[in-house]
Symmetry: C2
Subunit: 316 residues, 2 copies
């Protein structure tokens, strides 16, 4: 697949940090940035921008906050061939704390929100955009919404000036037909905007669904090294880069950083195709129950977890 | 996805045996059969039928040969709800050694062949079919052939009485577009025949490609428990069963046999998404070089393997 408009975004540190509270060594982040840049990847998302009065810096690593000075120090001396991206959550960042783009190392801010908060997301994103940044809105867990609500949210988005909107399969519950359905709907409601895809791997479909989204017209494509990310993880960046036909992309630096860092990291923290995540994905649910059971002695008692998750609870 | 014609075939022991020379315990095979049958899976392929003068029974387990008496002993007392399948290779089996279907525990014989041997495969399969069995021909490594040769082979197949023909992604090199291309071509040349899919997971696309093949019309669908199979393995049966909409299918027994047997087995023998297999898949090559490097101390030196595999050798 070759289309010159396609841009790839690496979210290794940002999404991977959801597993370990962003406690990555500076060396790992530096080497990852170098690999991502050498691979020709267009953007690297280093973490979240968040207020320190909401998260304790003793508990959370620096990529939870993405202070400009911290980032500049860690990347000092590296040629910044890949643009830098940062994610913000509604209510967890004060937009006044974000400097003008001309004074920042970051190029792109991505706003993550649930559909019900789309108005807040648009407001926050406009304020960031006014500072001169590229922006996007990533509607999380869209698979849990009624179609009429999705259409209402997309209508609001269509009236905004936010240029990029992502289809996000937060729970790794989607099949290729769902990707096509949503991409077509987003296209219908958001003419002129660029669409993106962020897939999770609960059913080993993150890469397959990402390919489907590219076929359907998405041009902002997320991946992470060795698929790192909360729960089952994301679309493996090395597969994505190997798939895309564009001479600027090169998979070799990604293989190198996997063997130098991510094989060892995978022994310390876990992500990937693990049955409890497959179960929550199949049920279109947040992975939090699976994450919880993986911390217990029953972590490999898949049948008990399945029975618990599929036994109907009394409803109102 | 629901289509009443869809049949699922488990190839856990047959394809998994390529890793460990079919040295599975009888208990594992019994418990696997029970799980597959309780999951509502239509066929279970227990192994290969091969002549003992070609393979040493001291080196190879009983599923390399699938002697009728061995199979009956191991499955003794279990209700045979899933039909039994056996694979044969050209030149490794004497069809005279195969009893009439009425005297056999097996229902289905599948013939694996390369395209160049399609005439031999048709001849062998006709001889087996004449004994009263269901049959199929599985054209391996079809991704390495010129289109004119594929069309010639399919024309020969169209003139045969073999009812089932598989699209086989032996090297895990195909993308969904390749699956669609081949399935459409097989349909065009083989009207009236049932098509099947056997996918490998080198790029984490075995399940995604299998879904694509179902959308495109394949009705004989291969999977293996926890994706076990040579190299990167196959389409995980638990994902496939969870995907298909048909009340006869039930994922729970598969989760149970994974936790009881396949987690431990995975610690003894390896399969799955491992970078050298991703590299051979990307190059549309047999995984033998990756299997070899995984036996060495350099098994995780991905960059050296990549460099070796992508350095052009002198050509004639």
């Amino acid at each position: 697949m070759y289309r010159p408009e396609i841009k790839v975004l690496d979210c290794t540190i940002r999404d991977g940090g959801l597993i370990n509270k962003w406690q990555f060594s500076d060396k790992l982040v530096r080497d990852t940035y170098k690999a991502v840049a050498d691979a020709g990847v267009d953007y690297m998302e280093l973490g979240y921008r968040a207020s320190k009065d909401q998260f304790d810096p003793k508990e959370y690593g620096k990529w939870r906050f993405c202070d400009e000075e911290d980032v500049k120090k860690v990347l000092d001396g590296i040629e910044l061939k890949s643009k830098l991206s940062c994610m913000v959550d509604i209510g967890r960042v004060n937009p006044d704390d974000i400097p003008p783009a001309t004074e920042s190392i970051f190029s792109l801010f991505r706003t993550a929100c649930y559909l019900k908060d789309i108005d807040k997301a648009i407001d926050l994103t406009h304020r960031i955009q006014d500072k001169g940044y590229e922006t996007s809105i990533n509607i999380m867990a869209v698979s849990t919404n009624l179609e009429k609500d999705i259409e209402e949210g997309l209508t609001q988005l269509s009236e905004s000036s936010v240029p990029n909107v992502y289809v996000v399969d937060s729970y790794g519950s989607m099949y290729s037909e769902d990707i096509t359905f949503l991409t077509k709907k987003y296209q219908e409601f958001l003419p002129g905007k660029t669409l993106g895809i962020h897939a999770h791997n609960n059913k080993q479909l993150a890469f397959g669904n990402t390919i489907q989204s590219i076929i359907d017209g998405c041009n902002m494509i997320d991946g992470s090294i060795y698929g790192i990310g909360r729960g089952a993880g994301n679309c493996p960046l090395e597969l994505l880069v190997d798939f895309l036909k564009n001479p600027k992309y090169n998979v070799r630096p990604l293989l190198e950083v996997i063997q130098n860092h991510y094989l060892d990291l995978r022994k310390e923290i876990e992500w990937g195709y693990i049955i409890p995540y497959m179960i929550t994905g199949g049920l279109n649910e947040h992975p939090r129950t699976a994450i919880a059971v993986r911390q217990t002695e029953e972590k490999d008692d898949y049948v008990s977890f399945y029975d618990k998750m599929t036994t109907p609870e009394p409803q109102i």
